[in-house]
Amino acid sequence: MRTRIFAFTLSIFLCAIARAELKWEQTAVELHPTAGDKEAVGHFKYQNTGSQPVRFKSVHTSCGCTVAQSQKEEVPPGEKGEITATFKIGDRTGTQVKNVTVETDDPDHATTVLTLKAVIPQELEINPTFVFWGQGEALKSKSIVVRASKDFPVKQLKVTSSSPDFQTKVEQTGNGQFKIDIQPRETSRAIAAKLLIQPEDSPKVFYATASVTNAPAIQ
């Protein structure tokens, strides 16, 4: 009877120590890409602190804009490694939060959610990015307000219309703010233009759109 109790206790003890355990250095990473960066890469480092190997079953992301890769399929005891998450910035703005879900064969921590936060600098705030007129609407100008961020001072703004059908006028209203007045030459037919907004001494171009739609003017 004593031997049985001892064997039972020993088996429980062995089960307790012979475990796989992936310890993450951090499960959340905040990145601050600079203007012009095409992508932001987060590194999630881990170590297997258990005595059994850990196998990755799957690594998937919450967005088609993020690709996550594991260096290895299996992590032997004591070994370190990392999951790399590459976030494609594209034309995204503001704070972006993307999740990477990691599934392993560790029964105690089968699923771990890693969070990648990218704070994309917004140099110019353009409001609205679209102005339109209905068919036959009065030939009155409409305005777009452009506000430069504190970290991106703008002295002058150049606005170019892709079509001569629209005239633009830029006015500085102070505090890094500008007003762009846009006016179509006519509202009797559907026309459109892309407005290229470029701060002085900056290669970066921002966009707005102006159009006269096919629909009658909204009263």
Binding site: G64, D91, N127, P128, T129, F130, T213
Partner: protein, 137 residues
Amino acid sequence: MRQALVLAALALLPAIGQAIYFRDKVSWQSPIPASEMVTVAQARAWDGNVIWVDARPDAEFERDHVPDAVPLNEDRWNELLPQFLATWSPEKRVVVYCSSQSCNASREVARRLREEAQLRNVFVLQGGWEEWLKSRK
């Protein structure tokens, strides 16, 4: 009876603890109001008065998409937005979709259309492309 109450009280303790610990992490509300979501059936009923917007990456759009849908994703927002606006008209409803219920791209695109371009009548398709495919069968 007394035992049941004791068990229920014991079960409640960790639940309360978890609710307090995760109070800032739990989303108690859907990020999009129900009025801005639309089912496939509702959107189909709008018939010719709808612009379908595909918020998925280019490769997925090229593989297949809702007939006459316009691609508009955040990878190429600046390039695609004017193309979408060329098809837009104020009396039309805009229905944005991405891959499935869990994807977030359609919500982001819809948000930018409402806030940045200040468009009205912008809806997000419930269940996304997966749901639309089911309705096609």
